[in-house]
Amino acid sequence: MSPDTASITAGRLGDVAGKKQPPRPRRPVRRLLGQHPIGIAFVTPYTVFLAVLAAYPILLALWISFHDFFFTAPGVDVPKPFVGLDNYADVLSDPLVRRSFVNIAIFLAINVPLTTIAALALAAVLNAVLPLRGFFRTAYYLPYVTASVAVVAVWLWLFSRDGLVNTILGHLAPQPSWLVNETLVMPLIALYVTWKQLGFFVVLYLAALQNIPRQLYESAAVDGAGRLRIWWSITVPSVRPATTLVVVLATIWGANLFTEPYLLTGSGGPNGASMSPVLIMYQKGIQQGKPDFAAALGFVLVAAVLALSLLNRRLLERE
């Protein structure tokens, strides 16, 4: 309620009571800071934090994306002319950028559904009464909290040409091998990321599962519903808000893919087959001194992810 609405309401109440009183003059400080000025003190640190570390960089990046910009030492004054949509045109005409978006589409098409289904299934199993439940919950969470560099080294060892997986597969091993196979490399990365992040999404689903009232299950059982029917008609719809969160988060994180093509496949190899937009942003913006190109690419990526996330919400949250 705004201060103005509050005073009007107070005046009317005064009339109703039959004691018409002149409106109480309000002190200017109160008028400025509202009913509970202490609230401003509470929100200010986080507002400043957001302004400095989120809003300011985003606005600066947007400005950079429309200018011919490069980083300079403080005090160095160089012209940074407005170039309109030139940086965006450069981004969209770059074949490697286009390739990276196709790669990400392949990645998301595998990673998001796989993450959602596997996380829900595992959460349901881990929610049931089973021996060593605590151990299994920790085990699935472990890859999520393990440093990527260490885990990538293990996957390199597993999936290299002479690695454990190919040794087990023998003649069935793919040619060329996993990490240098243009067709298999993105699905492999999608599988790796699914495995690495699964623990986090399992926790989200576990929390959602524990909030489903037991009575629903009991009623369904009394009505004669089988396990599959209970799963499909009670569990899945009851965790729908968690599913939306899992899908949106998996999409956003997946679109920001960086570590795996950087470390696992040596800068987006083979031949750009695992290149991601964020890796190109890093190469152009940080390594090659082209932050204007990188900023424009960043906003193209933001627009794509935003559109995808909105679509996901529309599809998942409809009744």
Partner: protein, 431 residues
């Protein structure tokens, strides 16, 4: 409500302005060059270099209590260049960094992050007399000034495993590795009979700097020191460049080198799985227990060792524009690259100071450590990466074409290199 919004907006704008004003300025001009006082320096995160830097700082501080040096390793980042770029933009670089790379120097200069060393009296003469004019010229900016001093090199040569060579029936003391044909024939034998999984294992990945360790040393050897780009024109699509590329392509096609990315935490040469690797003198201490030998990089028809060029893999030192006590910085730079400290650097790290006549200057060291003598001799015939604008973009463009055509054979080498050359020349021409 509107008022509250105004107050909040005011707070935001205020905080943004405070942030914007946070960067430091830099003192400029001759007065800054004469200014003396305490300075900060950064050095590489490499144990032998850390020890050398610490003794150098101690020696300087003992003599200059009013101009003390505070040293630290280059802050962590994906690469030193990334950390330095961020520091330049933030205005908090130290006065000196003992880990510069020529590939990044054009960008630092472009950012206004470096002090021209020519602004100190006698600087150009000092640099050229220390390193020799021919070597020093490679480190000069296209504007004719020095923004870095060539400090030390790790000339790339071919290490080989003598045990594997002997097992393959090759002479371990005089291995046939000087011509491309000999090299290929030896590579086939070490894989077929020597028990090596691969003959050689350069990283087959797309990082821009990987070409320093496969294509580039052979290219400068073949051309007698010609750089990747010269006078704005790409050189790698010349006959010499294509010959080098086709040599490597044969190696990949025949499975003599792996196409898979290799973990950075393992070294297949040290494990005896690979028979040959290109490396600088830093590797001598690493491969101490291995029975190894070292030869110059191959050329198409073979070349005497004393005429073969290679990639320098050098590091440089620069004075950064946020430095206030530049007079002290210049004095420290000369102290750290003087004859005495160069000798200590050689002794403690095994890397070659870029000083002419190295074997004659430190005869005792080379008498005691004959394995380093080969590298000392090679250090007088080294080529750096060219000093051109968009240097990293140029190398990335080249690397992408190389990996596609040479490693994976997805494209014909000539057409891939011609396409890359067009892009590279465009990048080299940008200001």
């Amino acid at each position: 409500m509107k008022r509250k919004a105004t107050i909040l907006s005011g707070l935001l704008v205020g905080s943004l302005l405070l942030t914007a004003c946070g960067g430091g300025g830099s003192a400029g001009g001759d007065s800054a060059n004469a200014q003396r006082g305490p300075i900060k320096i950064w050095y590489a995160n490499f144990e032998p270099e850390i020890k050398w830097a610490q003794q150098m700082i101690e020696a300087w501080n003992a003599e200059h209590p009013d101009q003390k040096i505070t040293g630290q390793e280059v802050p962590a980042g994906k690469s030193s260049e990334e950390a330095v770029t961020a520091a330049i933009a933030a205005g908090n670089t130290p006065c000196l960094i003992f880990n510069g790379a020529q590939i990044a120097t054009p960008d630092y200069q472009h950012m206004g992050g470096l002090v021209s060393l020519d602004s100190f009296p006698g600087a150009a003469e000092y640099i050229e007399s220390r390193s020799g004019e021919k070597v020093a010229q490679q480190y000069k900016s296209p504007d004719g000034k020095y923004y870095q001093i060539p400090w030390k090199a790790n000339p790339l040569m071919m290490f080989y495993n003598k045990d594997i060579f002997a097992k393959a029936g090759l002479d371990p003391d005089n291995p046939p590795l000087s011509t491309y044909q000999d090299f290929l024939s030896a590579a086939r034998k070490v894989v077929a009979k020597g028990g090596a999984k691969y003959a050689i294992a350069p990283a087959p990945t797309n990082e821009f700097y990987q070409s320093f360790f496969d294509f580039y040393p052979l290219s400068v050897a073949e051309s007698g020191g010609t750089l990747l780009v010269k006078d704005g024109k790409a050189q790698f699509n010349s006959d010499a460049g294509l010959q080098v590329a086709n040599f490597w392509r044969t190696i990949y096609q025949e499975g003599l080198a792996p196409k898979d990315p290799v973990s950075t935490t393992t070294d297949p040469f040290a494990e005896g799985k690979v028979a040959i690797r290109s490396a600088g003198p830093w590797a001598i201490s690493t491969y101490g227990k291995l029975h190894w030998g070292v030869v110059p990089v191959p050329t198409p028809n073979g070349m005497p060792a004393n005429q073969t060029w290679t990639f320098a893999d050098a590091k440089t030192i620069s004075i950064y524009s946020s430095c206030k006590n530049r007079g002290t910085a210049w004095d420290v730079l000369k102290f750290a690259t003087g004859e005495e400290q160069d000798g200590k650097f050689l002794e403690m790290t095994g890397e070659m100071p870029l000083r002419q006549g190295l074997p004659d200057k430190y005869p005792d060291y080379f008498a005691k450590n004959p394995s380093y003598m080969t590298f000392a001799d090679q250090a007088s015939r080294v080529a750096e990466v060219p000093f051109v604008p968009n240097s990293i973009g140029i190398w990335q463009t080249f690397r992408d074409a190389y990996v596609a055509s040479v490693v994976f054979g997805k494209q014909d080498v000539t057409s891939a290199f011609d396409q890359a050359a067009q892009k590279v020349e465009q990048l080299a021409g940008e200001k």
